[in-house]
């Protein structure tokens, strides 16, 4: 029991440390960004607020004095980090709404999309991977590997464009953009899932092949279990473990894919907001969205590790006892 606690505490501490690193890095970068951007931020923000045609010096000056853009740098930095420490992310310079409200709104959309993509990738990966491992000689299995090579080389935005034009424009099966209805989720989720698919398929097939070749599995068959029963009893656990561990590694791909795919289909999530904030030089919003994505990434990684440890009994018990 005490082993489990120390492990959990250590992981908690590491999680906190990583979160602090992410927050610090994002905070300082965002602040440097406000200082280093060329041109007058006040004009850009005024343009973002009132439209490009209605910006004049008076509007820019009003923005400048309202947002305190004329204070010295060190004051602004102290102010900045103090706010970050209290998780006061400020208001968006474009819309004027609190960043935290916008992020909580967007986070739901992003989570929905990533979860759908992730589940889709795992399901397809399990199916294709098992098919390759079990029926390697079948003609369809021979096609899976070249397809995986092709998919692996295709970034999420290329897949998104191809799916958009293929399924959306030519076949007219799916809406190319928009949100709110379940059907709108299909295209971006599929584009993201396809980027995750090759790795997942490979890991599943590899893992399953290892299990099939193991003595334990051969013994299960020898003692008279049917193949499905033997798979269920003896292949499921190692397969689940390997897949989950690998799925954790693929979070990077998922997060990076979310940024571009959301921008492509105008999905109102965090990635979309981040790109638009960068374009509009809306630094509080850049900071908030980057922080949310970074923290989400750290948290999901932590969860994935915890899940792997929870599933793997070898990691819960001290090494000596399980070996004995």
């Amino acid at each position: 029991m005490s082993m489990g606690w120390t492990l959990a505490t250590r992981q908690g501490v590491r999680l906190l440390g990583q979160s602090a690193l992410v927050a610090g890095a994002v905070g300082v970068l965002s602040f440097v960004m406000t200082r280093a951007l060329p041109g007058d931020a006040a004009y850009r923000i005024a343009a973002g607020r009132y439209g490009y045609d209605r910006v004049d010096t008076a509007a820019a000056d009003a923005v400048r004095s309202e947002l305190g853009l004329d204070q010295p740098a060190w004051q602004q930095l102290l102010h900045w980090l103090g706010d970050l420490l209290q998780l006061r992310l400020g208001d968006s310079m474009v819309s004027g709404d609190p960043v935290i409200d916008e992020i909580t709104h967007q986070l739901g959309h992003t989570l929905q999309l990533s979860l759908a993509a992730w589940l889709l990738a795992i399901t397809l990966g399990l199916l294709l991977g098992s098919w390759v491992a079990l029926r390697g000689g079948h003609w369809s299995a021979r096609w899976i590997q070249p397809m995986c090579t092709l998919l692996r080389a295709s970034p999420a935005f290329v897949l998104g464009v191809v799916l958009m034009l293929g399924l959306g424009v030519h076949l007219d099966w799916l809406p190319v953009a928009g949100h709110g209805e379940a059907i709108n989720l299909v295209l971006p989720a599929l584009a993201l899932a396809l980027t995750l698919l090759p790795g997942m398929t490979q890991v599943v097939s590899q893992r399953l092949r290892q299990v099939l070749a193991s003595d334990a599995f051969e013994f299960a068959l020898t003692k008279g279990l049917h193949l499905p029963a033997a798979l269920w009893r003896h292949a499921l656990a190692p397969l689940a473990l390997g897949t989950l561990a690998y799925a954790g590694m693929q979070l990077v791909l998922l997060v990076e894919g979310v940024v571009v795919v959301e921008s492509l289909v105008a999905w109102p999530g965090i990635g979309h907001a981040l790109v638009h904030a960068v374009l509009a030089r809306d630094v509080p919003m850049i900071q908030g969205t980057a922080l949310a994505m970074g923290l989400l990434f750290v948290l999901l990684n932590g969860l994935m590790d915890a899940a792997v440890q929870w599933l793997d009994p070898r990691l819960r018990e001290p090494a000596g006892r399980s070996a004995a």
Partner: protein, 311 residues
């Protein structure tokens, strides 16, 4: 067990590698030749916009009448220049810091590992995006962002491998014989690293090409007059109906280049699946300071995880 023939997924690495090298050479040749022999990628000819492929414009022209082949050539030069350069800088930085950490141990190593973990705690594209946002459209910002994310992988590889070598018998014997640091590095530490560094380097190049294209695609990377693969896709999208080849060109080129670069890293893939799951019990002989690989330390493209080899 007749079902499990490994033939289905078998790919001969040597064959793939050669295929990849030829593709890369051809693409580089396109980039170089079009710089001297081809047309100017920036010259507009509005009489000739969206022209179909012909003898004067082999791949047709875009919405401003610019030659697509010339623009693809420029995009290749821009992409490769950025990617090769940043990957090279990252190799240098990662190797030097990794050797530092392995050699000095103690506080230096802890600090460097902390930095590496901090960088790895945020997905690579996000870093590049944030750093590129410091100076929109500037190449140096893209370079710094790419180097910042890429050095971590090299650092981790070099650190773990070098600290193993440094603790080994050969280096001990060399030290007893009185050889200095440069000699030990040159003859004992670096030689076994080259193949892996090369492989990781080609992976970093592929990642950089992808990152630059992704940023260009969403509009926060390089700025429009430059021909860049992601940017060209965005520009071609509205004209998809009239001129589908405008979109097909950069898409095919990007996929081809990345596939060719990735084929060089292929041999390693087999081993990586089970290296990830940590196994308790009579574990492998990790190098003594094993605190550096965090769970977030996965590769920017969800790829390789370099654990020390088990022999």
């Amino acid at each position: 067990m007749s079902a499990m023939s490994p033939a289905a997924i078998k790919t001969s690495p040597a064959q793939l590698g050669r295929w990849g090298v030829w593709i890369l050479l051809a693409v580089l040749l396109l980039g170089l030749l079009s710089a001297w022999l081809g047309q100017d990628p920036a010259i507009q000819n509005l009489d000739q916009n969206l022209a179909t492929p012909s003898t004067t414009h082999w791949l047709g022209t875009d919405h401003l009448g610019r030659d697509l082949l010339a623009r693809l050539g420029e995009a290749v030069r821009v992409s490769f220049w950025l990617a090769l350069g940043s990957a090279l800088l990252a190799v240098g930085l990662g190797t030097v810091l990794g050797l530092c950490a392995a050699w000095q141990r103690g506080l230096t190593e802890r600090l460097l590992c902390l930095c590496a973990d901090g960088v790895a705690a945020i997905p690579g594209l996000l870093w590049v995006l944030l750093v590129a946002a410091l100076a929109p459209g500037q190449k140096w910002a893209l370079y710094s962002g790419l180097v910042l994310t890429a050095w971590v992988e090299f650092f981790r590889l070099v650190r773990s491998r070098a600290s193993m070598t440094l603790a080994g018998d050969a280096v001990q014997a060399g030290r007893l014989l009185g050889f200095g640091a440069p000699y030990l590095l040159r003859w004992h530490v670096l030689p076994p690293l080259w193949p892996d560094l090369l492989r990781l380097w080609s992976y970093a190049v592929a990642n950089a090409v992808l990152a630059v294209a992704a940023l260009g695609f969403v509009g926060v990377g390089l700025r429009p007059p430059t021909a860049e693969l992601g940017l060209m896709m965005t520009e071609a999208l509205p004209y998809y109906d009239e001129a589908p080849w405008l979109l097909a060109g950069p898409v095919l080129l990007l996929v081809l280049v990345v596939a060719a670069l990735q084929s060089a890293t292929r041999p390693h893939e087999r081993e990586r699946a089970h290296e990830r799951t940590p196994v308790a019990g009579p574990g492998p002989a990790y190098p003594p300071p094993a605190q550096c690989t965090s769970p977030t330390g996965s590769h920017p493209a969800g790829g390789l995880q370099f654990c020390p080899e088990r022999r």
